[in-house]
Amino acid sequence: MRPSTTRLLNILVPVKRAVDYAVKIRVNPQQTGVDLNVKHSMNPFDEIAIEEAVRIRERLPKGSEPVTITALTIGPPKSVETLRTALAMGADAAFHIELPETAPAPEPLGVAKAVQAIIEKQLNSVDMVILGKQSIDDDLGQTGQMLAGLLDWGQATYASKVDLDLEQKNAVITREIDGGLEQVCVKFPLIVTTDLRLNEPRYASLPNIMKAKKKAVTKLTPADLGVSFKPQMEVIKVTEPPKRVGGTKVESVDELVEKLKAAGFTAVS
């Protein structure tokens, strides 16, 4: 490796292979989940995360510190497709923590511990971890926050704008919150989770897809990292939402109040 005086900016982006957002999902006959024999692709919020990392690299003026983007996924052998997409979009290298085909889906705490292990054992230094705010299959939205807690790093979740200051070694991030937008300043190293309006991800061009085939993917097992993905939660039942029934029209406010009372709604003062 060439010695260099300027430090690299290292960004880690964990990505997840989930059911494609356009698929019309159906509950499986056992009522334990949805039919998974459908198209899968990268979690859309994770695509936004990879895109943001690539844009951070493109936004830096020419001649500034090189940026290394590492992608990471946890899942069965098929998950490597998701890494190939990340590499084709602009990631430089990738890690695949391979689970057996029959293993249960990893949970946020397990994922956060695995990402922590990768950061501490496998990577030289990480300045920033960008994650999707939630995955569209379980909608749990916990991994980024748990990771920040485990690493004791600052975090900015639901990011809709990210501006880095490499001199000051911090980032000013605009967050989408219920009341509107909030700006926070977080010191390096930090965790960012992406919200929908952060950017629009690029589609991978064929030349980049072909280049991605030559980029390195390192395979690891949970044992290599000393982590376990033993589930902490058990899904008891999954059902479709109840079918909408037709409403009724009322003639007056009094009738409305009567109907509400009959349905069990009481006034709250």
Binding site: P29, N37, L206
Partner: protein
């Protein structure tokens, strides 16, 4: 009563394998990938181009169809360049992706699914122009034109037909190249030229001036739009493919230096022209395949949404028969075309001595069959949509009008049949 009981039972025991696949959020298709025989890397390629077609082309379909200044088409031409699709069959040393005709066919099909007009212009640019230049151009010609053609700066076109020279393009050609001091003078007209109104460079076939009684020869030229004496007519008002610009080309004493001759020397224009036609037929077969899949998907979704007599019309016997025929035609046409593409790639890349020479009859058969079936399926799609098939807000009319082009574009069905017959008969000579 019986029908509702049986549908309730079947819903409880439904199988989990379904053919519907999604691309880029904008396409939901019933393309059957189990019948294609594609390798894993070809499938990856196919998914990438379908994703591109869904995300980039499909949202612009209405704009493309409006034609006008063809600005939507020209923007997409650049996006397609960024995706790497213009130089699929061009060697890597000329900045292409050095893939096979199977890949070019797959790209053509994916684009045609979203917009047949865009795909036609793409096919004319990337196969008729770019591929011919790549195969026959000198190093100087390739380094002057290929980079711009591949990165989307230039649009290419190819001109052989004339208003009086269609199927008998060589026998009836009147565009003449006369040898003069320092070069050639080109005079004549070309007709039905795809991309004519917007292209920057044209591959033009012309008749040579020969002595009385001598054999007629032809020469192929690379003619930039800005050459003095070269003008284009206004865009033709067409029945279908309305998003693809087509026009007449007019050459009035256009002077061309010898460096603009394509091919190792002059007078070999016929060889250049004919060899290109086979590959053109193969790649353009993706056009009808894409239209057919779109027509099938549209019809299928519609007949399972529309209810009459208390049931989805798709469950009525006569409609089931239509779906069955459409499904079968679509998949047989595709299986055949993909097989021909595989054979052509094998021949080009790996054929051992003794392997039969490149089969012209198969390329002609591929587009002959795909075109016939595409028109049938598009017609049936319009019927499946009932009255709505007749309204231009629905895509059925466009599928039919676009499919119909392939019966005369890139050759007529009659010429394809004649060629196959001639090739087969020559085995007996």
């Amino acid at each position: 009563m019986l029908r509702t009981i049986s549908s309730r039972i079947s819903r409880r025991f439904y199988t989990t394998s379904r053919y519907e696949t999604y691309h880029g959020g904008a396409i939901k298709t019933y393309y059957n990938p189990t019948l294609t025989g594609l390798s894993p890397s070809e499938n990856e390629f196919r998914e990438a181009v379908w994703e591109f077609s869904a995300r980039v082309v499909k949202p612009k379909v209405d704009e493309i169809e409006r034609g006008g200044s063809y600005s939507a088409l020209m923007e997409l031409h650049k996006e397609i360049a960024g995706m790497g699709l213009h130089g699929l069959t061009v060697p890597a040393k000329n900045l292409g992706l050095e893939l096979g005709y199977t890949h070019h066919l797959l790209a053509m099909e994916a684009l045609s699914y979203s917009s047949a007009s865009l795909a036609l212009s793409y096919g004319a640019h990337s196969n008729l122009c770019v591929n011919q230049l790549s195969r026959w151009g000198s190093e100087a010609q390739k380094s002057e034109w290929l980079p711009g053609l591949l990165d989307g700066r230039y649009l290419g076109a190819l001109a052989m037909s004339e208003s009086g020279a269609g199927s008998d393009v060589l026998g009836c050609m009147k565009t003449v190249a006369k040898k003069v001091d320092g070069g050639y003078l080109l005079n004549g007209n070309k007709f039905w030229i795809t991309n004519g109104p917007k292209a920057d460079v044209f591959i033009v076939y012309a008749k040579d001036v020969v002595e009385h009684g001598a054999k007629q020869t032809y020469t192929t030229f690379l003619v930039p739009r800005i050459t003095p004496g070269f003008t284009t007519g206004k865009p033709l008002d067409k029945f279908g493919m309305r998003g693809s610009p087509t026009c007449e080309l007019i050459f009035t004493d256009v002077f061309l230096p010898p460096s603009s001759i394509l091919g190792d020397s002059q007078h070999h224009g016929a060889k250049v022209l004919m060899s290109g036609l086979d590959l053109e037929r193969l790649v353009l077969s993706g056009g009808p395949l894409g239209i057919m899949q779109a027509a099938y998907d549209t019809a299928l979704e519609y007949v399972h949404q529309r209810e009459q007599f208390g049931v989805r019309v798709g469950t009525i016997g006569s409609m089931q028969a239509k779906i069955a025929d459409m499904y079968t035609k679509l998949n047989t046409a595709r299986a055949f075309v993909y097989s021909v593409a595989r054979a052509v790639d094998y021949h080009t890349q790996e054929a051992a001595p003794g392997y039969p020479v490149f089969q012209r009859r198969d390329c002609a058969a591929a587009i002959l069959y795909a075109t016939d079936k595409a028109i049938e399926v598009a017609l049936e799609c319009m019927q499946c949509l009932g009255g709505n098939g007749y309204i231009n807000e629905y895509p059925a009319a466009r599928y039919l009008a676009d499919a119909r082009l392939y019966a005369v574009g890139a050759g007529t069905q009659e010429v394809r049949r004649w060629l196959i017959g001639r090739e087969v008969n020559s085995d007996f000579e």
